[in-house]
């Protein structure tokens, strides 16, 4: 049911997700932030049951923080972070799997390039220019296939993301009134816009 998708542009990545937290016929909240900041220059949009979402995202972000503390401030690149995530998902797969599907976006400050990763709950990992998890993929991938090109600007990428959101709101059966959009670039992770403030109680 969750919508998570991302678009890479020249110098960064846009991540977007819906803000609905629901189970069965009940909506618990409509201002959930499903895009977790993993480190200063990376973030992970996660779809799946809230328990696994929170558990997995906190486990990964805390372990990445631990790595930095243990290794004298050395940061892991987005490629390394993605592979670390994949390793954790793969290990858990045959013990007690995390049912999370992920879009991981990061900016490598050393190389000066952005990267976006698609990762499913089976721990299959692929580096992509754009991607979507869940039912959203059926609606969004064609739009991204048509509009994405090499060397997009941040605004153009946000434009594609907003096109996708509009499409979902028109055609997707599950009503998702609120979306949160974040950008990851050389200046770090910041929220561009949200439908409902996650900080509200």
């Amino acid at each position: 049911m969750d919508t998570v998708f991302g678009v890479e542009f020249d110098g960064g990545v846009i991540l977007a997700s819906d803000q609905t937290n629901a189970r069965s016929i009940l909506t618990y909240q409509t201002n959930l932030d499903k895009i977790t900041e993993l480190s200063s220059h990376s973030a992970m949009g996660i779809s799946g049951p809230n328990a696994d979402l929170v558990n997995f995202s906190e486990y990964i972000s805390k372990n990445l923080a631990l790595y930095e503390l243990s290794n004298d401030g050395l940061k892991l690149s987005p490629h390394a972070q993605a592979n670390f995530c994949r390793g954790e998902l793969a290990t858990a797969l045959r013990k007690g799997p995390y049912q999370v599907n992920i879009m991981l976006g990061g900016y490598d400050t050393v190389k000066g390039e952005a990267s976006l990763y698609w990762m499913d709950y089976l721990a299959a990992l692929a580096k992509v220019n754009y991607g979507a998890q869940g039912y959203a993929s059926s609606f969004c991938l064609s739009i991204m296939d048509r509009d994405w090109k090499e060397g997009l600007t941040c605004d153009e990428a946000v434009g594609i993301v907003e096109k996708c959101i509009k499409e979902l709101q028109v055609r997707f059966l599950i009503a998702q009134p609120n979306f949160i959009i974040k950008v990851v670039d050389k200046d770090g992770v910041r929220t561009l816009k949200f439908g409902a403030d996650p900080a509200d109680n």
Binding site: R86, S137, S138
Partner: protein, 215 residues
């Protein structure tokens, strides 16, 4: 049989979930191995650059068809075991030994296997081609002509049986391998979307990317 059902899609074998096509073929003092580059989630295509053939060393290549997560896990595991071997033995793995290692790794998980069906291709100490294929629990087959694996095996067997000749030179091997793979994946929904071919000779490896149909 291992079956998986994800949402409303029809039941599918777990080995077919991501899609793959791999062919390895022997030639005169050379060997070739090729794979498609599609990564899918059943009918949907996620990536067009997911390579399934990995270089272990200058003389040994492995192709891993099957569930993508296990392809990646096994690649890491094989790299790890290769490193251990080279540290202890102070020499490189030969294809025959590598194939045996892989077979053992798979059988260790006999009752909870990795969902991959690998193909090993390389040159032995005398620069003669080595080929082997395996099922998901490590049962090997050794041959000198060709081995195939993936979601389009029926197609690939047909193409290889028709196009294969003994003792092909590297250039001809490349053409044969490419045509066999391209024609096979074009009739399979789950594989294709690009291909990579490696030709291994005693002088080195030449890798080429093929442009094929992207549907």
């Amino acid at each position: 049989k291992y079956q998986v059902q994800i949402s409303e899609a029809r039941k599918m074998s777990i080995l077919e979930y991501n899609g793959a096509a791999i062919i390895a073929m022997g030639g005169k003092d050379c060997v070739g191995i090729a794979c498609d580059t599609r990564l899918g989630a059943q009918a949907q295509t996620v990536s067009c650059d997911f390579r399934k053939v990995f270089k272990m060393n200058d003389r040994t290549f492995v192709g891993l068809a099957g569930l993508a997560t296990d392809v990646l896990t096994m690649n890491n595991l094989l790299k790890f075991r290769q490193n251990l071997y080279e540290l202890r033995e102070e020499r490189q793995l030969t294809p025959k030994v590598f194939s045996n290692l892989l077979s053992n790794l798979l059988y260790e998980k006999r009752f909870g296997p990795y969902f991959i069906e690998p193909v090993v291709a390389g040159l032995d100490e005398n620069n003669k081609p080595f080929l082997s294929g395996m099922d998901l629990i490590g049962a090997p087959v050794y041959t000198d002509d060709f081995v195939v694996s993936g979601t389009a095996t029926a197609n690939m067997y047909g193409m290889c049986e028709t196009l294969y000749k003994k003792d092909m030179e590297p250039e001809e091997l490349f053409e044969t391998l490419s045509q066999a793979l391209l024609a096979s994946v074009d009739r399979d929904a789950l594989s294709g979307w690009g291909a990579v071919v490696h030709i291994v000779t005693k002088d080195g490896v030449i890798s080429r990317e093929l442009k094929g149909r992207r549907d």
